[in-house]
Every structure is written in structure tokens, then in C-alpha cells.
């Protein structure tokens, strides 16, 4: 039934996004890229998909400018899609940007806390998280003003309200603020895709639930792993776990009690996927080694937990395209593109630093 009227409003968007998906780099493209000797070669390889955006770069550009240009492409395409979206899809895409908005607001809060000129920060903000009233936040000079303007001017108000006060912005670590916001955002997004009349019971709700549940679990696991050895107490940590996902509630409860890597492993044992990740990471990381050993020393073999999560995310995103009449492909496309940008940056870094042995650490699903 849901497919009957989908194309009336969203058919064009779906077509465009599927077209974008087809222009994503494939495994063969990546293999070609890893053979490059210089950034210029890489630029040439990227020509077919990124030509317009890379054209203005000087010869042998820095990896950061390369990343910036590739992001520009994503942003411009996203804006095009957003401009053409209507109704629930428009709202859905707004939800997509909230995640970036949280990062931007956190950045502005940090700047205000340290009494920096927040106008400089606008350049550093992620363009996807840009909202019209963002420059207004720069007027705020103290944290209370900022808090009030965030409440009034941004769509993030519901995430602040009820869980954070303006004193919290001052006292809590910005990372806790950010993760609290993100938790609220994920819960709200989950609620949105499952409760919105245009989405309940459609493939959108189904696929997005899977993606968001995975995202929630990943955040919970990462927060737990990263909080070992910091002053973040277990009670505070528990507050940062989103209240849904495959791990919720037993898994998150156990996560909140975990003291070390093995504790986390026990907590996620109930979910087969995560169990395999942890087993592999545990083997790769060696005894006692924490999960995300990507091998900064160059010694660790195999994939880190983080890599495996990314891999999993990409697979879920890829599978989203097997469904029709769903908004989830927009989300999946954005995620795939982000991963692509990360891959390009990584390969470019490896080429620039002449560290070819780990160049194949990228994640490609096509």
C-alpha cells in the first residue's frame, strides 16, 4: 500500500538519490586509487566523479583541502535533494542534519566558553549542520545568552530542554553535553521514523530503525570503551546511552557496569553481530588490548572495532538501497558518501606520507 502514492511526492528524489548512489566509487576505483603515486594521480582518478569540484584545486593539494572539496560535493548534492524534498521527506532530511548541527553547536559552545570570537568558528562548522539562525548564536557572549538563543533559534531546543541547563554547559565537559544531545537526537529520530503517519509501517520505518538501532548500539559501546580511564562515572555514562537499540535494555545495563574490555564483550554477547566483532577485535588487539586498535604503531594486524562498525554501517546502508519507496536511502546515501570521503582522505594521507602498507584500510562495499 505504501508504494501506491510514494512516487507522487518522492519519486523524483528517490530517482536522483539512486543516481547519486551509482556514482559512488567502486572497489575497482579504490584499487586504482591505491596504485597512485602522487595526489595529482589521485585527483585524476577521482576525475569522473569529483571532477567539477577538484578542478579548482592547485597541483598536489593538501589532503585536508581534498577532503573539503569532496565534502563540498556531498553538501551541494544534499542541498539539491533537500530543496526538492517535500512533506515528510523534507522533515526527514532536516532530521538528518541535526546530527551535524549538534556538532556545530558544541563547537560554538566551546568557543563561547573560552571566550573566543565565535564568528571565526562559523567557518569551521560542518556545512550540513548549517541552519539559518546559526550566525545569531555568535552574538551571544556568555553561556547563558548562548543557551537561551540555542533554545529559541535552533531545532535542537527539545534536546536541550529537560536534560541540560545553562549551568551544565558551563560545568560539564563539552563531550558529555555533545553526547547527551546526540542521545536525545537519536531517540527523537527513532521516535520520528516510527511514529510519523507517513512512515509507520513503511520500509522507511523498518530500515531506519535498523540503522538507528545500530547507531545507538555503536555509540553506547564506543562511549563505554572510550570512557575507561576517564573521570566519567558509571552513572553519568549510563545517561549517555540511547534508550533503544538491540542492546537495550539488558545490554546497556551491563555496559553501564562494565569496567574493561571484557566487561563490554560480555555485555554485547547477546547480539551475534557485535559478538563476532568483539571476538575478532579481541584476537587482533592481543590480550588486554582495548577494542579500537587500528594500530597507530603499525603493529596491529586486522581490523579495529571501529573499522568493523564502519563496515557494518556501510553494509546496512548498502542494503537500504534494496528497498523501494523509502526515505532511508537518503540517509544511507549520505552515510556512504561520508565513508567515501573518509576513504579518499585516508588514501590521500597514505600517499602523501608515503605509508603504502596500510593504504588498503579503507572500507568499500560496492
Amino acid at each position: 500500500m505504501e508504494g501506491l502514492f510514494f512516487n507522487v511526492n518522492n519519486g523524483y528524489i528517490e530517482g536522483v538519490v539512486r543516481g547519486y548512489r551509482n556514482s559512488l566509487l567502486t572497489g575497482a576505483n579504490y584499487t586504482n586509487m591505491t596504485q597512485c603515486e602522487t595526489i595529482d594521480d589521485l585527483k585524476l582518478q577521482l576525475g569522473p566523479s569529483y571532477g567539477d569540484f577538484l578542478g579548482s584545486l592547485p597541483p598536489n593539494p593538501s589532503t585536508s583541502s581534498l577532503a573539503a572539496k569532496t565534502t563540498d560535493k556531498l553538501v551541494s548534492e544534499f542541498r539539491y535533494v533537500r530543496a526538492n524534498a517535500v512533506g515528510a521527506l523534507a522533515k526527514f532530511m532536516d532530521y538528518l542534519t541535526y546530527g551535524y548541527m549538534i556538532d556545530n553547536v558544541a563547537l560554538l559552545i566551546t568557543g563561547t566558553l573560552h571566550e573566543r570570537d565565535t564568528r571565526e568558528l562559523l567557518d569551521r562548522c560542518h556545512p550540513l549542520g548549517w541552519f539559518e539562525t546559526m550566525p545569531v548564536l555568535c552574538v551571544a557572549t556568555n553561556i547563558e545568552e548562548l543557551y537561551n538563543s540555542v533554545l529559541i533559534e535552533t531545532p535542537l531546543a527539545p534536546y536541550f530542554k529537560g536534560s541540560l541547563s545553562h549551568q551544565d554547559l558551563d560545568e560539564l565537559n563539552i563531550e558529555i553535553v555533545r553526547n547527551t544531545l546526540y542521545k536525545n537526537y537519536l531517540e527523537d529520530f527513532y521516535q520520528f521514523v516510527n511514529a510519523h503517519p507517513e512512515m509507520t509501517g513503511t520500509p522507511t520505518a523498518e530500515v531506519m530503525s535498523e540503522i538507528l538501532e545500530f547507531e545507538a548500539d555503536r555509540r553506547a559501546i564506543n562511549i563505554t570503551l572510550n570512557s575507561f580511564g576517564t573521570e566519567l562515572s558509571k552513572a553519568d555514562r549510563k545517561k549517555l546511552y540511547p534508550s533503544f537499540g538491540m542492546l537495550y535494555p539488558e545490554g546497556t545495563l551491563m555496559l553501564s557496569r562494565a569496567d574493561d574490555f571484557d566487561g563490554v564483550r560480555l555485555a554485547v554477547e547477546g547480539v551475534a553481530d557485535y559478538k563476532t566483532f568483539f571476538d575478532a577485535a579481541g584476537l587482533g588487539g592481543g590480550p588486554g588490548g582495548p577494542g579500537n586498535l587500528a594500530g597507530g604503531t603499525g603493529g596491529a594486524e586486522g581490523k579495529s572495532l571501529e573499522d568493523m562498525f564502519y563496515q557494518k554501517e556501510m553494509e546496512i546502508s548498502k542494503n537500504a538501497f534494496t528497498r523501494q519507496f523509502t526515505f532511508a536511502i537518503v540517509y544511507a546515501w549520505v552515510k556512504l558518501r561520508e565513508q567515501e570521503i573518509r576513504n579518499i582522505t585516508w588514501i590521500a594521507e597514505c600517499i602523501a606520507q608515503n605509508q603504502k602498507e596500510r593504504i588498503s584500510n579503507y572500507i568499500s562495499v560496492f
Binding site: P290, G296, T345, W346, C350
Partner: protein, 264 residues
Amino acid sequence: MSGASDREAVFPTRQSLGLMKAKLKGAETGHSLLKRKSEALTKRFREITRRIDEAKRKMGRVMQIASLSLAEVTYAVGGNIGYQIQESAKAARFRVRTKQENVSGVLLPAFEAYQTEGNNDFAMTGLGKGGQQVQRCRETYARAVEALVELASLQTAFVILDEVIKVVNRRVNAIEHVIIPRTENTIKYINSELDELDREEFYRLKKVANKKLRDTAAADKEMKEKREARMAELAARGQENVEPEEYAEPRNILDAEVDEDVIF
């Protein structure tokens, strides 16, 4: 440099000869000491050069790993976290202490790096994702900075030692080629002057002796003539007075004349 001109302006006296001899001895001791110091410093210098070479190579490796780990952070976090890191860092965790090392009287500053415990300002950066990479990146960079500090202290030592070795070598050469020859020249000069003086003195003494001899001879002659004149006068006047005999010559009462026997 002719021997005559290259000497110190001293009066050629025995005292200054003594002084010069003491000076020469001092210069020789100083020369050997300085030579040894210069050798010790050069040895150290070579060692430092070797260590700088090692440290630079290590630096290259460590920096490479470090920048790769930064790339890893960018990959994991999926964005630039530089600003957050800058803002959340409050107190220095990695500090440098300086102490001094004494190498043959040269004070070389040595930097020692240490990390303050429990000072982890951005422990929570990347809490959501990439936190582990951030921490690892920090550790790698801490190692890189450590290598940098080591290199810095070696480089400082290198520069200072270079300077000091130059100064010491200059001193050694100055002593060897200027001060010692000049002192030796001075001693030679004083010696020759003293010999000259000796000869002059000897000659003078001889002259004086001659003169004295001549004077005595003259005086003797004069006295003899006087006496003869007197004798002649006395003889002319006749034996009217016996006393003048006594003037002439003291009588030897023992063997002058045989006394007439006294007969009672």
C-alpha cells in the same frame, strides 16, 4: 718572527728570569691540561654528533608514525577535531625540565621531558567515536615530542661544545705557538744579557785589579825614592843622629846585630 723582537719587555734581571721560568713552566702545564680538555671535549662532541644523527633518524620515523596516527584520527572521527582539542587543553601534560651536565668544565644544558600524571584534559574527546584513536594519537605525538626534546638538548650541546672546542683549541694553539716560544725567547734573552753583564763585570774587575796593581807599584816606587832620598840626606848630614835609623826601619831586635857580650 725574529727571536730578538718577539720577547716580552722585561729588564734582564735575575728576578725576571725567575719569573719567566715560572711562567714557562705554567704555560707548559696549562698547555697539556688544555690539550687534554680539548681532546675530552672533542670525544664528547663526536659522540653527540653520532647521537644527533641517530635522534634525527628516529625523529623522522616517529613523526611519520605520528602523522599517520593523526590521519587515522581524521578517518575515525570523520572530521577535524583540532579546535576541540585546542580548547579543551588547559594545562601542559608534557613538560620539560632542564638540568646541567658538566663535561670538562663546560656546562651543557640537558632537557629532560616528563609527563605530569593525571593531567588528561581531553580524555573525553571523541567519546562518541574515535576516542581510542585520539588517545593513541596523543601518545604517539608525546613520543614524537620526546624525541624532539632529546634532539633539542643534543643540538644545544652540539652548538655549545662547538663554541667551547673552538675557544680551547685557540688557547692551546696560542700557548703552543705564541706564549711558549715568546717566553723561551725572553729567557734566552735574559740569559744572554746576564752573561754579557757577567763578562762586563769580570772585565771591569780585572781592570780595577790592574789599576790597583799599578797604583801600588807606583806608590811603592815613590816610597822607595822618598826613603832613598832621606837616606842620602841622612848620610850627607853624617851620623849625628842615630835615631833616624829607627825612622828608616824598625830594628829587628832578634837578629840585627849580635849583641856585645856583657861581662860583669
